[in-house]
Amino acid sequence: MKMAGDGEKLITYALGSCIGICLYEPQRKLAALIHIMLPLNMETGRKNAYKYADTGIRTTLREMEMKGACRAAINAKIAGGARMFEVSGGSLGNIGQRNSESVHQILRMEKIRLLWEDVGGTIARTMEFDSATGNGTIRSYGHPEVKF
């Protein structure tokens, strides 16, 4: 997880089945970018909170509040959750989808508005997020850049 203000930009590279979650508080122009890999934290020690959708989002929200963000004003934009390989059977193929479902559910439970999403498909995405505007871009191989 990376956090920025003062017009700084945040970037996370090559989201495949992972999901990039941009959390933004427009009044303070405080931005956070989380790169989650798995839907739910079932680690015993819970060491890597930011690796999972549930603990990643919740921990980041708390840290934003500690930096003075107003919880009710925070919104979200998300991208990723792709299926990189067409593999028949098993749980391997749908990790992206499970990540996406979990992120949606946690955002709903935490009452964070989801303003924009670009999830699913079969392509990797690099996500850049501007703390000055709350907008960003998605870069992919062989596809035009997407602004959000």
């Binding site: 590279y13 495949g16 890999m37 792709a82 028949s88 391997l92 079969t122 191989y141 062989g142």
Partner: protein, 208 residues
């Protein structure tokens, strides 16, 4: 004593995994040589256990484009094996098998892709055959899947599959030498922890 994640591996256990890597890549080089009809040798491979970020840097950064061939391991061992095929490797194969090379991944067409999948499949299966022979276990492989995209996203697949257990992956790297040129060989193996324990016990290196 069973290990709980890759960090717990002892020096002897890591040496054993290195030996497997060495024999496996040697066999893969022989298979590649038969396929392209030229002598292919391999430098002494380096087998390491790496964290995700280290592994990404090792293959050249998250955004570089690469081709990946992936098979899932079943039977007595569960896991994922990935053959990362960078441009130099792809052209070594394509120029020798199909007589024409490419300059960008976007130029890959069905015929080339199926050749690369087959090469990946051969490399993975010869490696796994060496492993199952050494440890006397039966391992089944799924039909290989193929993708071209950013390396970071391709590498995440084996990491995410067992990411709840460990942040580490086994990397097997060496250089194929063919026509006096060196071409990187990059294989990644990610057995789940239960399977890794089973494997080490079968190889007789685990302390009881």
């Amino acid at each position: 004593m069973d290990i709980k994640n890759y960090e717990d591996l002892s020096g002897l256990e890591i040496d054993t995994l290195k030996e497997i890597g060495s024999i496996g890549t040697g066999n893969a080089a022989t298979a590649l040589s038969q396929l392209i009809g030229k002598e292919v040798r391999i430098t002494l491979p380096e087998v390491r256990i790496m964290g995700y970020n280290e592994a990404i840097e090792w293959i050249g950064g998250p955004e570089a484009i690469t081709a990946g061939v992936l098979s899932q391991l079943g039977g007595e061992i569960n896991g994922i094996m990935l053959s990362v095929q960078q441009m130099d490797f792809i052209n070594l194969v394509l120029s020798n098998v199909l007589g024409r090379s490419v300059t960008d991944f976007i130029q890959l067409q069905e015929m080339q892709i199926s050749t690369l999948v087959e090469v990946g499949n051969i490399m993975i299966s010869t490696f796994i055959n060496a492993l199952s022979g050494l440890a006397d276990i039966s391992i089944k492989l799924t039909v290989p899947a193929f993708a071209v995209d950013m390396q970071g996203a391709i590498l995440t697949v084996p990491m995410a599959a067992y990411g709840g257990q460990s942040d580490y992956i086994m990397t097997i790297g060496g250089n194929f030498i063919c026509d006096n040129r060196q071409v990187p060989c990059r294989l990644l193996l990610s057995p789940d922890i239960r399977s890794l324990n089973f494997l080490l016990r079968k190889l007789g290196v685990m302390d009881e």
